[in-house]
């Protein structure tokens, strides 16, 4: 019984403490990234956003069909 109580106290304690530390470090990491390493992501973002841009779907559709064709050819080889 004592073992069960021990397991509960120290076990639950570890879980809470560990996740608390994780909250701290995660928050810290996010702040550091947002403050000091944010730019390239901002630059990268638009490029990635374009992928969902309707305006370029035609070009992308072509690319998709081309890749499908390539794959198909590769399979027929």
């Amino acid at each position: 019984m004592q073992q069960g109580v021990d397991l509960m106290l120290y076990g639950m304690g570890t879980v809470v403490v560990f996740l608390a530390i994780l909250v701290v470090f995660t928050t810290l990491m996010s702040r550091v990234v947002q403050r000091f390493f944010a730019e390239p992501d901002v630059q990268a973002a638009p490029v990635r956003m374009v992928e969902s841009d309707q305006g370029r779907v035609d070009a992308r559709l072509l690319a998709v069909i081309k890749s499908a064709l390539d794959q198909h050819r590769a399979k027929r080889r």
Partner: protein, 436 residues
């Protein structure tokens, strides 16, 4: 004629015992729930089928060579085994099994070889069990795949929800205490290792439960896995009443701030931060959480798409097939049809309920301290059971306010719960091993 008798003696009906018959029914029941009711079919279809296969009378698919020799062998192999295990010549199967269990690894290997010499071999399901589960590999590989499927974005946007993932693990430890309590009252006979393995059902995470059970209580693995997956499927029935009982209408109507967008770099760094903390503070969880972080890094780093896709598809599917069948091999009648199983089922349900309640209550408590209010309905998602529990939070939320979508908010505690139960698993493995 002799051949007819042999064929008859080889037939399943001749060997069928009532226990196996019941287990065959259990197997079909699992298949029914999985296929017809959609209960975690990816696992319960293989587990149910494995259950049936391992209870085919006279086939011994889940037996080791040694167990096959005991079950189907004659005088000669008994005598040879008796000599190896140091028993009298008129030993019974039960005595041999007992001696084997207490023998050193070296003697067990010798006994296995004797059985092999007499033409017995490991059954198919036992081979799957040995390779997939006893080695620890399958749950870890599945955990890697789960990592590769997990988006930590909602968690990173609101790290506080990690506390909800911690709170819900209280179900685990309360259940451990319950199991130990039942034993100290003489109602059950669970060792501390058994209790820990049962508690982990409350972690609501299949691979974690199987991993812990395979280390701490292999004999209970079948019942624990079945309970874990069944209750995960039953989350939409178990959780809502508890959630409604513990919250006011005002609680349930809380609207949460929209989550900020999380940058790619944060997503790449998160599994590494988690990994470092595990390395420094919790090495006993390094295998589980390490593979989980590895899978997540494969997903987020963006330069190994082919590995990430394989981890999410071919690899996890292959592993799931064998893991499921292997779990089934632990559903042999003599292991499952035991009062302990009933205890496991009851305690497992309790673990889910307590975890759910604690998640909701801690969310309410956090609202007392912070001005960024949390809708306490997302607290229940902290048990994990990804993504079912998050969907339940969303659904219960919509009942009160049809415009209050909680799904993304609930994904934070939901994935936090996966981390939480893996941490709990590490602590328990470490502490129980030391207690042993």
């Amino acid at each position: 004629m002799e051949n007819f008798i042999r064929l008859w003696q080889d037939s399943g009906i001749y060997h069928l015992q009532s226990g196996q018959f019941i287990m065959l029914l259990v197997g079909f029941l699992l298949l029914f729930f999985a296929i017809r009711k959609g209960f975690e079919p990816l696992l319960l279809v293989p587990i149910g089928f494995g259950c049936i296969l391992s209870n085919v009378p006279g086939a011994g698919l889940s037996f080791t060579a040694f167990e096959s020799a005991l079950a189907f062998g004659h005088m000669d192999v008994y005598q040879a085994l008796a000599q190896t295990l140091g028993a009298a010549q008129d030993v019974t199967a039960a005595e041999l099994a007992e001696l084997y269990k207490n023998a050193s690894t070296a003697v067990q290997v010798q006994a296995h070889r004797v059985a092999t010499d007499y033409g017995f071999s490991d059954g198919m399901l036992y081979v799957f069990y040995k390779v997939a589960i006893a080695s620890g590999a399958a749950p870890l590989i599945i955990f890697m795949g789960v990592g590769a499927m997990t988006d930590f974005g909602p968690l990173l946007a609101n790290p506080k929800t990690l506390f909800l993932g911690a709170a819900a693990q209280f179900g685990i430890f309360a259940t451990v205490l319950g199991a130990v309590g039942l034993s100290s009252m003489g109602l059950m006979d669970f060792s501390i290792a058994d209790a820990a393995a049962i508690g982990i059902i409350g972690g609501a995470d299949g691979p974690t439960a199987i991993y812990v059970a395979s280390i701490l209580a292999p004999d209970l693995l079948g019942a624990i896995a079945v309970a874990a997956y069944s209750y995960m499927a039953l989350v939409p029935l178990i959780q809502p009443p508890i959630m409604r009982a513990l919250t006011t209408k005002a609680d349930r109507q809380i609207k949460m701030q929209q989550l900020r967008e999380v940058s790619k770099r944060e997503k790449i760094l998160f599994p590494l931060v988690l990994l470092v903390l595990v390395a420094l503070f919790l090495p006993s969880a390094a295998a589980l959480l390490g593979m989980f972080c590895f899978g997540n890094l494969l997903r987020e780093c963006g330069v190994v798409t082919r590995l990430s896709e394989t981890a999410q598809n071919a690899l996890i599917n292959i592993t799931t097939i064998f893991l499921g069948l292997a779990v089934g091999s632990k559903l042999a009648a003599d292991k499952f049809l035991d009062p302990k199983t009933l205890g496991i089922l009851v305690l497992g349900m309790l673990a889910f309920a307590i975890g759910t309640a604690m998640g909701v209550l801690v969310a309410k408590f956090m609202n007392l301290l912070s001005k960024n209010k949390i809708n306490p309905l997302i607290g229940s998602a902290g048990v994990s059971a990804v993504p079912m529990a998050a969907r339940v939070s969303n659904k219960v939320g919509l009942e009160t306010d049809p415009h209050n979508y909680l799904l993304m908010h609930a994904m934070g505690p939901n994935v936090a719960g996966v981390i939480g139960s893996a941490v709990a698993a590490g602590v328990m493995i470490s502490m129980v091993s030391a207690m042993g």
